[in-house]
Symmetry: C2
Amino acid sequence: MAESKSKSNPNPADAPKAVVGRLSLYLRELQHLVRDGHETISSTRLGKILGFSDAQVRKDLAYFGQFGYPGIGYRCHELIHAIKQIFGTDRQWPVAIIGTGNLGRALVGYKGFDNQGFKIVAAFDIDPAKVGGAIEEAPIHHLDDLERIVQEKQIKLAIIAVPASAAQSVADRLGASGIDGILNFAPVTVTAPPNASMVGVDLAIEMEQLTFDVVKRSGEKK
Amino acid sequence: MAESKSKSNPNPADAPKAVVGRLSLYLRELQHLVRDGHETISSTRLGKILGFSDAQVRKDLAYFGQFGYPGIGYRCHELIHAIKQIFGTDRQWPVAIIGTGNLGRALVGYKGFDNQGFKIVAAFDIDPAKVGGAIEEAPIHHLDDLERIVQEKQIKLAIIAVPASAAQSVADRLGASGIDGILNFAPVTVTAPPNASMVGVDLAIEMEQLTFDVVKRSGEKK
DNA sequence: TAGATTGTTAATCGATTAACAATC
DNA sequence: TAGATTGTTAATCGATTAACAATC
């Protein structure tokens, strides 16, 4: 019954996936702009850099609030702060990683996570030779200790970097441990546990998207 | 003037990006289905597994041809073959990787690439201590030898795994060397060289997409 | 034949773009 | 004030869904 919002005030939760994806690109670009000494940026310029229209930039941001100044544009620092709040990355999230093969180890050491608000605080494996060790600062625990460590360290996010065959069962265990979000690198369709969100990244699929474009071009140019 | 195609025959090159993305998911799922012994699959079942409608599956595939059998569904093997042809991954693509840090090394060893038609045949770095070595089977060359090796090994695809600050200049050099497609892991906006396609993967951005969902949910549930 | 399922058309839905009054 | 630029509405464009004749 507390229905008082102005009619034309899109709700952030209604933002389409595509908009949220671009929001990340805006944030990344704004951070580069600040490093280059820019105080403000217009929707036209920001769009040009990223290959979007000025209208799209403004519309996208309008889902989340009114951040701009007519005649001026957007103040970079201010907008960065606002977007980080939207993503929840104005604070640091402790993250668990499951699987310490090539990819898992590389992800633990990936500096881009730290910079953007993610800190990998624990790794898990089932190989007794690895358990007890550590990668960078993160201790490697046995997967059987997942629930305990997740509780102790208040971990809400996890990264799956195990073979495809193990991915679903790991996802289920993560759900049972109370994890809220899972980033899945295993190249397989995994059903998200109830109450958890999931994002999948398949590296071979990204390559396929590329070859499709390359093959398409070579067909046209012939 | 050889304009004889039936009017309702969508051109593969017209397929929206979203459709091509799902095509990769269909391929991946079909491969799993074959491994599980399935001969055929209906659009309804395939859609259900991936969370799409039956109509969407059929419409997506229709961009590329008529692959189904009314009353039967799609023959898995046949459809896999057709999709691989569309992506050009019915043959093996030699791939170069630039940057042999944590991520670069992990990508060279990533088995998912081999399985899907990509073989990393050369790595590049500018660190004299690394040049001359090798990762798995791939020799590490100096970046200055890029053009020569690309020609010799007929490399068409490259992966950028260098720091953000170096990404654009590496992309430019790749373009100058005649590379057709670039998969960029550096967390920065990179402009594709003329005549080359580019796909970007930003791992921190994928995590952000996840936290957005997690934050959204926690807001709703309160 | 009856049942299953496709490919395609038309209807619906959603996202992007264009335009402009309001604002600094 | 004149110039720049926003937020928002309406118009356009594109993608998804529903429905169904055709087919096995």
